[in-house]
Amino acid sequence: MNFTKFSAISALSIALFCLCSCERNEIHLAFNTQTVSPQSFVLESTLNASLPGDSANEPESMRTHVSIRSTMSLLMSYDDGSGRFEMKIDSVDYTSDKRSVDEFRNIEKYLSIQNFQFKLDHDGVITDPNIENALDMPSEDELNLIPLFLKAQPLLPEKPVKLGETWERQMPIFGKGNSTTTVYKTFTLMDVYLQDGVRMAKIHMGMKYLELPDTTSNLQLKSNDYVIGDGDVLFDVTHGTLSSAEMNIVAKLDVFDLVAGDTLPSMNVNQKITLRNIQ
C-alpha cells in the first residue's frame, strides 16, 4: 500500500512539474528511475569498415551486423533519484563477412549471456555497468554490448529546456581492461508533441570522441581526428522512457601493428546504431 501511495505521489509530482514547466514554455526531461515497468528494446548495429585500394593492393572491406532483443528491468530505486537496472539479453542475431557461420553461432551464444546491470540517474547518466556472467579479461577481439547501448543513450539536461535549446554532456565509455573513452555529446530539443496522448520530445544528438590507442595491445587503433556521430532521439516525456535513438558514426582510423611493424593508414569506419523501445 505504501509503495502504491509513493508511486502515485511520484507520478503526480512529475506531472505537476511538467505542467508547471510547460506553462513557462519549458519542458523537464527525466528518466523514470523509480517506478518504471520493464521495457523491451531492440538494439541494432551495422558496421562497415574499408581500406581503399592503391596501385599495388585491392580495396578491402568488412561488414558486420548485430541485432539484440533485450529487456530492461528496475531492480532497485535509490533515495538520490537513481535506480539500479538489469539489461537481460533475450536473443542475438549476428553476422559478419569476416567470420564463418560457426563463429557467428559461437558469438551469438556468448553475447546471449551478457546480461548486465547498471545504475541510471534520472538525467540518463549510466554508471557502474557490469556484465553478470562475463569473465575477466575477454580477449581483444571479443564483442562487448555495453558500449553500443552507451553510444545510443541520450543524456538529458539538468534543468528544464525550451524548444531549440542546446545542452552538452560528456560520458565515459568503458573498454577493455581499465581503458575509458570520454565521449562528448551535444543535444538540441527539436520538437515536443503529443502522440496518442503521450508527450514526446524529439532531440538531436551529436557525438564526438577520440579513438586512442590501447597501449597494452600490439595492435593499436588511433583516429587521426574526432570520431563523429549524429542522430536523433525520441523521448517519451510522459513515462520518462526512451522511445528510440539512432546514431550514425563516421571515423577514420590509423592501424599500427607493432609486431609486424606495419601501418594501415586512413581506414574508413561507418557505424549505424539504432535502439527502439518495442513495448
Partner: protein
C-alpha cells in the same frame, strides 16, 4: 594412433552421457589452489570460471571435466595438469552436439605444465601471452584446436591434432613442434602474419583442405593488406 583416438572418444562419449546429470561442481580456490582430484571425478563446469593470477590449477591423473554449453575455463594463474598415459585428464563437452567455449591460458605466473590431456568438442582453446609445454595432449573435434597468440615460447611435445576444423593457429609468437601430429583435420597449421612454427613439420599431413597455410602468403596472392585480426579488433572497438 587412430585406434587410440577413437577409443578415447568413445570413452569420453560414454562418460559424458553417464555423468551429465551428476558430477562434482568445478571447485573454487582454497589456499591458492584449485585442485581437481580423481576420487571426485567427473567434475561439471556449467559456465565460465576464472582461475585467478594468484592461484594454481592442479589436476590429478584420471580426472574428467564435463563442460556445459557456456563453459569457459580461463586460467590466469599457474597450471599443472598431470595426466598419465594410463590415466589421462579429459576436458569434454557434456553435450555431444553443442560446443563448449574452450580453455584459455592467459598467465604470466610461469611456464604451464600440461601432460596427457584430451581436449574435445571446444570452440576455441587459446594460449595468450603465456609460455610452457604441452606434452601428449590430444585436441580432437574442436573448432579451433589450439590458438596461440602473442606467446613466444610454446612447445608441443608429441601432441595430436585430429578432426578439428582449424587444428593449430599461431597468430603472433613462436611454437616449437616436437613429434606432433596434425592429421585428418579440415585445415592443419595456419600461420598468421606474425606467427612462426619451428621444429618438426613432417607430421603435418593428410589434412582435407590444406596442411600449412600462411596468412602473409594468402594476402600477397590476393593483393590484400588487412589481416583478419585487424578487422576483428576494429569491430571490437566499435
Amino acid at each position: 594412433m587412430k585406434n587410440i583416438i577413437c577409443s578415447s572418444v568413445i570413452a569420453i562419449a560414454t562418460i559424458a552421457s553417464l555423468a551429465v546429470a551428476s558430477g562434482m561442481p568445478f571447485p573454487s580456490a582454497e589456499n591458492g589452489k584449485v585442485l581437481l582430484q580423481a576420487k571426485d571425478s567427473p567434475y561439471v563446469l556449467e559456465q565460465g570460471v576464472v582461475v585467478g593470477a594468484a592461484d594454481t590449477l592442479v589436476i590429478e591423473p584420471g580426472v574428467t571435466v564435463l563442460m556445459g554449453e557456456f563453459a569457459k575455463l580461463m586460467i590466469q594463474g599457474s597450471v599443472k595438469i598431470a595426466g598419465t598415459n594410463d590415466k589421462p585428464v579429459i576436458f569434454s563437452g557434456a553435450d555431444s552436439v553443442a560446443n563448449w567455449n574452450g580453455f584459455h591460458i592467459m598467465s604470466s605466473a610461469g611456464p604451464f605444465e600440461i601432460k596427457n590431456l584430451t581436449v574435445e568438442n571446444a570452440f576455441r582453446n587459446t594460449i595468450f601471452r603465456s609460455s610452457g609445454t604441452l606434452e601428449n595432449v590430444i585436441f580432437f573435434n574442436n573448432y579451433y584446436g589450439l590458438w596461440v597468440d602473442e606467446s613466444p615460447n610454446v612447445t608441443l611435445f608429441h601432441c595430436t591434432f585430429a578432426h578439428n576444423r582449424y587444428a593449430l593457429s599461431v597468430r603472433a609468437g613462436r611454437v616449437v613442434s616436437n613429434g606432433t601430429s596434425v592429421s585428418e583435420n579440415v585445415y592443419g597449421l595456419y600461420l598468421e602474419t606474425d606467427g612462426k612454427l619451428d621444429g618438426d613439420t613432417d607430421l603435418i599431413r593428410n589434412n582435407q583442405e590444406s596442411d600449412i597455410r600462411s596468412e602473409a602468403a594468402d594476402l600477397k596472392t590476393s593483393k590484400k593488406r588487412v589481416r583478419r585480426n585487424v578487422w576483428h579488433n576494429i569491430e571490437a572497438r566499435f
